[in-house]
């Protein structure tokens, strides 16, 4: 784990520095929005990584319920934590951009609301993991993850209907549809860099979780031996 961290962390930091340079210096300034548009290069990749993490969490939880392997539970825990972090970044950078461009911090639009509900669901997932007692944690968390993932499309559909019924005060909520080639290049490199960062976080957190589990079971074994002696 140490070797992996020693190599991959500096590489990822260098990559992020490079893509940040691209996003802040090289990318052309957007005509109507100005410099604030540059947040887009962080906002969208964060959303992508969060979505990816939550999907990994769902798959890992399903695999855990099926195979009961410690590894899939550790992966589920790791990806949920990292997903919540990136989802938080998404929810913070969004309003920062919306305030100057839309004139408001927040609107109950389909995508915003769905993201917020998604965030709430996975925060409760983490709370459940924290408070569940002992060996039951893994099963309870995996079961809840299935509920959470099933809920997301329903939330999206319902809010979409809800908001198309009542037109929202902000028109044209979409990001720049059709990106200029120079922007697209910067955006894609940022997307790659964030994916690398997300995967690195998940892998490190996964390794840590595995070590914690190994430590816990070693403690349990020792305690058992102590009793039998």
């Amino acid at each position: 784990m140490k070797k992996l961290a020693l190599i991959s962390i500096p590489l990822t930091v260098a990559l992020l520095a490079y893509t940040s340079y691209l996003a802040l210096m090289v990318a052309p300034t957007e005509q109507t929005m100005g410099d604030v548009q540059r947040i887009f290069y962080y906002h969208v990749p964060s959303g992508w990584v969060a979505g990816l993490c939550f999907f990994i969490n769902f798959v890992a939880s399903a695999v855990f319920l099926w195979k009961r392997s410690e590894a899939s539970d550790a992966l589920a825990a790791a990806s949920a934590e990292v997903g919540v972090v990136f989802c938080t970044v998404l929810l913070i950078t969004g309003p920062l951009w919306a305030r100057p461009v839309w004139g408001i911090w927040w609107t109950w639009d389909a995508r915003l609301t769905t993201t917020l509900v998604l965030w709430l669901i996975y925060v409760s997932y983490l709370v459940l993991r924290r408070f569940a007692a002992g060996g039951q944690t893994q099963v309870l968390a995996a079961a809840f993850a299935i509920f959470g993932f099933a809920d997301v499309p329903i939330v999206y559909m319902s809010i979409r209907w809800f908001r198309t019924q009542h037109p929202s005060p902000v028109m044209g909520g979409g990001e720049n549809s059709g990106l200029a080639p120079a922007m697209l290049h910067v955006f894609l490199t940022n997307l790659v860099a964030f994916t690398v960062l997300g995967v690195l976080f998940v892998v490190l957190r996964y390794k840590l979780q595995m070590q914690e589990q190994a430590l816990e079971s070693a403690h349990a074994q020792m305690a058992l031996k102590g009793v039998s002696r």
Binding site: F147, D151, M157, S158
Partner: protein
């Protein structure tokens, strides 16, 4: 014993215990009465306003009240290790889950029947749209609250901070159902829009989550 037999036996036992103690219904009733009074003070709406906000008030009050009853669902079975006895018995786990869900469903329906007249009086409610649709929404919505609530109560009973855990798990998952109930109720009361979409959505929500609950309950019951 068949699934149906176990379900009926458990349900009858729960209903009898509730009939004798009236714990769940009484605490829910008083709780939602308090919510009604506090909301009434806090918003002090006119008849026209209340028609628009009543859908939200009613369902939030019922949601909070339901949590009170849901939290007691499994606590009773922990005493004297009844739940452990159930686990080692050959009775199908889903029968137990269905019985508990039906029990809670009946309790919340009784609560709704008793509380609705109070809402009507306090908020001067009169529906513009057809009232029978409200009945359909109440049944679908109550099932949506109760089926997930019973399941999550079973989850949270195994955590360290039982009573707090249930709303933390239930509320985020319930948001689409709550939105559907509130919006459907409001559109019927004001008669401005059709609640058809919301009714279908609630039906889909009920089917999806009832299926997931039945699929996962055995796993959760036997979690060690």
């Amino acid at each position: 014993m068949s699934t149906l037999g176990v379900t009926r036996a458990t349900l009858v036992k729960d209903l009898r215990m509730e009939w004798r103690s009236k714990d769940a219904v009484n605490s829910m009733l008083f709780f939602s009465l308090l919510v009604v009074v506090i909301f009434s003070f806090a918003f002090n709406p006119t008849a026209e306003e209340s028609r628009r906000i009543a859908g939200g008030l009613i369902w939030v009050a019922f949601l909070f009240a339901a949590v009170v009853a849901l939290n007691q669902t499994w606590a009773r079975e922990l005493r004297n290790q009844v739940l452990d006895a159930y686990r080692v018995s050959p009775a199908p786990p889903n029968a137990l889950f269905l019985a508990k869900t039906l029990g809670n469903f009946l309790f919340v329906v009784v609560l709704e029947i008793l509380m609705t007249p109070l809402f009507v009086v306090f908020y001067e409610l009169r529906s513009v749209g057809p009232v029978w649709q409200l009945l359909v929404i109440a049944l679908l919505g109550t099932w949506a609250l109760v089926v997930n609530g019973t399941f999550f109560a079973g989850l949270s009973i195994r955590t360290r901070n039982r009573e707090i855990m249930l709303p933390l798990l239930l509320f985020p998952i319930t948001i689409p159902a709550l939105l559907a109930m509130v919006d459907a109720t409001t559109s019927i009361l004001t008669g401005e829009a059709s609640p058809d979409f919301w009714m279908k959505m609630l039906a889909v929500y009920d089917i999806v989550f009832t299926a997931i609950c039945l699929l996962l309950f055995e796993t959760v019951l036997n979690a060690e």
